[in-house]
């Protein structure tokens, strides 16, 4: 199973939102819907405050509860990897996967009704390209690659820097990493 990961450096992310715009443009996401978003997290008490920016999306979990909950197999792993996709031709729009996602990363595609989400731009990945959000990042804070290869850029980043994942306690084994 190929394990793709996205590594985002919170020290160089400035929260500009270009990743959000790139995603909407690349994937023709309708107005009012979003597959990714940026969070500004502020910790501490004034004047001792720290701020981090995080570009968030589907975490393409290795143990994706949305995939296991789907009653029709519409939510599935792409080509034996951890990239979670939704097959619109199998989706009934029951919304069980939305309830099953602890990150609330899924959405209802309007007006069609099937469930949609970040795909890690798998159509670009199969051409050897990075996802649109990674390619467009002006500060180069976003990185994408295969974790199985110990020499890959993302593997080396995770070896050399301190990192975290979101809500690891859910047991979903997310694959979007944040360098801190």
């Amino acid at each position: 199973m190929a394990r793709y990961a996205m590594v985002i450096d919170t020290k160089t992310c400035i929260g500009c939102g270009d990743c959000v715009v790139a995603c909407k443009t690349e994937n023709k996401v309708p107005a009012g819907l979003n597959r990714d978003w940026v969070v500004e997290a502020t910790r501490g008490t004034y004047p001792d405050l720290t701020t981090e920016f995080r570009s968030e999306r589907c975490n393409h979990c290795s143990h994706a509860t949305c995939v296991y909950t789907c009653p029709t197999g519409a939510s599935h792993y792409w080509r034996d990897s951890n990239i979670v996709l939704v097959d619109a031709a199998k989706c009934t729009g029951c919304k069980a996967c939305i309830a099953a996602c602890p990150y609330d990363a899924r959405l209802i595609m309007h007006p069609d009704g099937y469930i949609d989400k970040c795909t890690f731009c798998h159509h670009r990945v199969e051409q050897g390209l990075d996802p649109a959000c990674v390619s467009s990042c002006p500060t180069r804070c976003m990185h994408f690659g295969v974790l199985d290869d110990p020499g890959s850029h993302v593997s080396r980043l995770l070896k050399s820097r301190t990192y975290k994942v979101l809500l690891s306690e859910t047991g979903n084994q997310p694959n979007v990493y944040y360098l801190i």
């Binding site: 009012g32 940026v38 969070v39 997290a41 296991y68 939305i98 609330d104």
Partner: protein, 330 residues
């Protein structure tokens, strides 16, 4: 202190600012599914325990409501689907890890067994309908088959009724991402509530005073058990993790407090149990009021559980984007 603010737009309909994917349709389906389970269990138990003389309505006439109510519930579920034309996809696969897939296939077993349960007693209970069915050779054959295998049909009804009742709770409790639902108490709670609702249906339907008294007594026991399970569910949440404590706040001072305690526990459980007690003590009450409130309470349990469960979450963002303001600018 930590504050997490969304700095880009995220206003996905039914997801932001808090999850609201399921409206009245899913609670209605869960309620009618539970009621169907209760009907099948009681009708089967009366047959298996040979108590038809003491409970004629429950043994013979009640069963017809099982496929009818289940069909209405399935209709509500269909209305909830966002991609309706693809509903057939439930039956092109079996996903072993998906409770919803299990439920789809269980319902496919429940339907024929519930119809056989109706046919067991159709000649006595509804002679006109029975007459129409027996005009056809297939109808005569299936009615004779059901009558001949009455005990086996009742046994299967009991087994599938329990499965169906449990399933309506497991459907929600399997969502680990929703802390309010993620407890093993929901399955027995929904089964007991379904049995209680079915007992109330008997009290409403029967013309036999002895049967009414019998099921009024059953309902006191079932409602008491339901209250105990609710207490355990709340204790389970109160002794849980941080996200479970946050989920509990929804019904303990939060947004759903009035709906849970006043509209469900007080009106849907406590008042009926008091009225039932007065009824069996021989004091005058409005006989129809208690079973109607029990049925109302059964629906409220599902409604409050679905609503409070959806908004319980692992993520807490402060929404800084207001789509209404954006519309005003356009």
């Amino acid at each position: 202190m930590i504050e997490e603010v969304l700095v880009t737009a995220r206003s996905n309909p039914k997801i932001d600012p808090s999850l609201g994917i399921w409206s009245w349709e899913v609670p209605m389906y869960l309620f009618l599914g539970g009621l169907t389970a209760g009907i099948m269990c009681f009708a089967a138990l009366i047959i298996l325990l040979r108590k038809e003389d003491q409970a004629p309505w429950a043994a013979k006439k009640m069963a017809i409501w099982a496929p009818v109510l289940l069909t209405v519930g399935m209709g509500a579920l269909f209305l909830d689907l966002e991609h309706k034309l693809y509903v057939y996809r439930f039956y092109t696969t079996f996903q072993i890890s998906s409770p919803m897939s299990w439920g789809s296939w269980i319902l496919l077993l429940v339907y024929p067994v519930s119809i056989l349960l109706v046919l067991c007693s159709i000649r006595d209970a509804y002679p006109r309908i029975g007459g129409v069915i027996e005009r056809f050779s297939a109808g005569r054959w299936i009615t004779a088959f059901a009558c001949y295998h009455r005990q086996q049909v009742a046994t299967w009804s009991l087994v599938l009724g329990v499965f169906l009742g449990f399933y309506t709770g497991i459907l929600l409790s399997a969502f680990s991402a929703r802390p309010f639902w993620n407890t093993g108490f929901l399955a027995p709670l929904f089964l007991i509530s379904g049995l209680s609702s079915a007992a109330a249906l008997v009290v409403l339907g029967t013309r036999s005073q002895a049967e009414r008294m019998m099921f009024t007594k059953y309902d006191i026991g079932l409602i008491s058990l339901e209250l105990a399970l609710i207490a355990l569910l709340l204790v389970n949440l109160a002794t849980g993790t941080g996200v479970q404590l946050d989920a509990l706040k929804n019904v303990m001072g939060g947004e759903f407090t009035t709906r849970f305690w006043l509209y469900f526990v007080f009106i849907g459980l406590l008042i009926p149990v008091v009225l039932n007690y007065r009824e069996i003590s021989g004091r005058r009450t409005w006989a129809f009021l208690s079973p109607v409130l029990v049925l109302y309470g059964g629906y409220m349990l599902r409604l409050v559980t679905v609503e409070a469960g959806q908004v319980s979450t692992w993520t807490r963002y402060t929404q800084s984007f207001d789509p209404v303001l954006l519309d005003l600018l356009r």
